[in-house]
Amino acid sequence: MKPSAFDYERPADLDGLIALTRREDLFVKMLAGGQSLGPMLNLRLVQPDLLVDITAIPELKRVEETADAVILGACVTHADIEDGRVPDATGGALPRVACGIAYRAVRNRGTIGGSLVHADPAADWISCLAAIDAEAMILGPSGRRAIPIDEFMTGVFQVALEPGELVEAVRIPRLSLGARWGFHKISRKTGEMAQAIGAILHDPARDVLRAVIGATESVPIVFSGAAPLFSGSPGSGLAKAFDASAAVRALEDSGITDAVDRQLHLVALKRAIDQAARP
């Protein structure tokens, strides 16, 4: 199948971009690497009037390091992260997650910002970045704001962007040296959509213990204070202390009633925790 007809513009700067996305008479869709949008266009599931290619805007490819974070422009690709072309402040977590996204040829064009905005629950970044407590840095007609990733996705393919707003960059907090993380994805075959994702970050120096149950076919379940997932002190060893009952309740509350689905989510979380606990 071929896409339906649309116009295409590639603005030079953010002002030009915002001007285009504010066109209310048109169905405007932003295009970064197009690796999720491309199939939807081809299948005519998405039929925009205007595609605005954001990849010629220098600010969106900018990479910046601060004392407590690395800021990755929205158009940084999975391969940029996988190959270590951008700085990593996560002890290898991001590059490892990146190399498990789809396939290499897709990673060469797919972007971190595009993946977040697309908000497919089965995608890797939304769960991984929620665990790491990253922020979406948003630019819109009324200026800039930041939203924690765990509040960014609001539903299947739905995010908390107002009309005219875009994700400019992702702010990734710098993990302490002693931080432990785990990310486990269960999928039917290499590169395919996740059936379940478990992610955990334990950064005692910053007093952070976060966990995520992802790929739920809706928003990921985020435990921003994940202590209830553990009986006793997690310091005694995350894997040993893991107590599934809080996770089971969270899955039930999220309406995940299917026994097999629930089991896969629990196993993914448990394995992420095991991974974080491994020396």
Partner: protein
């Protein structure tokens, strides 16, 4: 049409293309470079993989216009390439191809693997090649061929050129100059109208959008249940439910087409799920039974854009509560989706959306029943009317869920 300037297999090409044209189609149809094959057109099979600025990409999901200024290399452009030459010999020796359809994309990914992963073992090669499907060979010869080239190069001490990528961003986007902004032509009016009809008269709509599908076609695929209580005696609520137009427009995103009667209503339901926008035009009829204070609204609707359709029914029954001062409304929704929108395996997404719509429908009903009159239940959530299943209402929906869950656990219901 947009003009693009790219380099293809070392030759400068300037051409006028439709923005919707993917790079693979541009190469195949406009430049007659048919070595790049299309196998799925959704980025899974890898047959269309080629090099853009020296980096493998999927040309079936990369727009030609987005490759402005880029250097494109197809399999036809690898005749003199050293590593590709070694791979061709190895592919033939190891019987790494049968029908040859996946081969061009396979070679491009194989070359990338050899260059990027000079120490790859068999497992590494398999993972690196996992984005290229072959239906003939079982991958045995392909993996062996790549392994043998890696081994030979290592033995000869041949190093691979360094990674061609230095800048960030989607491969191929690096040299693209911005287009002039402000000159966005509106989409051709006719095309746009066809795709996004405004509130149209009955005559503009397909006949089936005005007719309610007959019952008995089959059991609904998805069923959902909602229940809520309003502070009105049953007779009053019954009267409200008699106004079909008012009830129908409680479905989020629903607007009336034409004037409803108490038995028949014609509507448009706009559903926006991320970038997917559907407009279901349809009709509904109601059958009410005053003796049991129940009714069945049966409807069907069609989204012309996706050629998808839905049919379903809403059953309601009104039960007296609080000694007649209030009424409990039990709503059962059952529906079936057909057509391309239904033909995906991730049905839980549809279920998620349906649940949100049903939930919003129930809340809108309650809000509309409670509106004004200083009802005790006219709290903030009940008062919010949901106009469309869209980002903002869904946040409300999520909050509402949490509130409900909270109360359920509190009250043990």
């Amino acid at each position: 049409m947009k003009r693009i300037n790219i380099t293809v297999n070392g030759k400068a090409v300037s051409a006028s293309v439709e923005p919707r044209m993917q790079l693979a189609d541009f190469l195949r149809e406009s430049l007659n470079l048919t070595g790049t094959h299309l196998g799925c057109e959704h980025g899974v099979c890898g047959a269309c993989t080629l090099l853009v600025d020296g980096t493998p990409i999927r040309s079936c999901i990369t727009l030609a216009v987005a490759c402005e200024g880029a250097r494109v290399t197809t399999v036809e452009g690898l005749d003199e390439d050293l590593i590709a030459g070694e791979l061709r010999a190895a592919f033939s020796r190891e019987h790494a191809l049968q029908c040859g359809y996946c081969t061009p994309g396979m070679l491009i990914s194989a070359r990338d693997t050899v260059m990027r992963m000079p120490d790859a073992n068999e497992r590494d090669i398999r993972v690196a090649m996992s984005g290229n499907l072959c239906r003939c060979t079982g991958y045995v010869g392909i993996v062996r061929a790549i392994q043998s080239v890696i081994t030979e190069r290592k033995a000869k001490g041949l190093s691979s050129p360094p990674s061609p990528r230095a800048e960030f961003g989607p491969a191929g986007s690096g040299r693209a100059r911005p287009t002039a902004v402000g000159a966005v032509a509106a989409a051709p009016a006719a095309a746009r109208a066809a795709r996004r009809p405004g509130p149209a008269g009955a005559a503009d709509r397909a006949p089936e959008a005005r007719r309610v599908a007959e019952p008995g076609v089959g059991k609904p695929q998805t069923t959902l249940h909602e229940s809520f209580t309003v502070d009105y005696p049953r007779a009053k609520v019954w009267a409200f439910f008699g106004r079909l137009g008012d009830v129908a427009t409680c479905l989020p995103g629903t607007s009336l087409l034409g004037t409803p009667t108490d038995e028949h209503v014609e509507t448009r339901i706009r559903i926006k799920v991320g970038p997917i926008v559907s407009e279901f035009d349809g009709a509904a009829d109601v059958v009410r039974d005053a003796s049991s204070f129940s009714g069945v609204i049966r409807g069907s609707a069609h989204d012309a854009r996706s050629r998808s359709a839905t049919r379903g029914e809403i059953q309601y029954v009104l039960i007296e509560d609080e000694n007649g001062a209030a009424t409990r409304v039990e709503v059962d929704v059952g529906f079936t989706l057909t057509g391309p929108l239904a033909q995906f395996s991730r049905s839980s997404i549809v279920h998620d959306i349906a649940w949100r719509m049903t939930d919003a429908f129930a809340r809108n009903l309650r809000a509309r029943l409670n509106r004004g009159n200083g009802s005790a239940r006219a709290d903030s959530t009940a008062g919010a009317s949901i106009s469309e299943i869209n980002a903002a209402p869904l946040i409300l929906s999520v909050i509402w869920n949490r509130i409900k869950t909270f109360f359920r656990s509190l009250l043990g219901r």
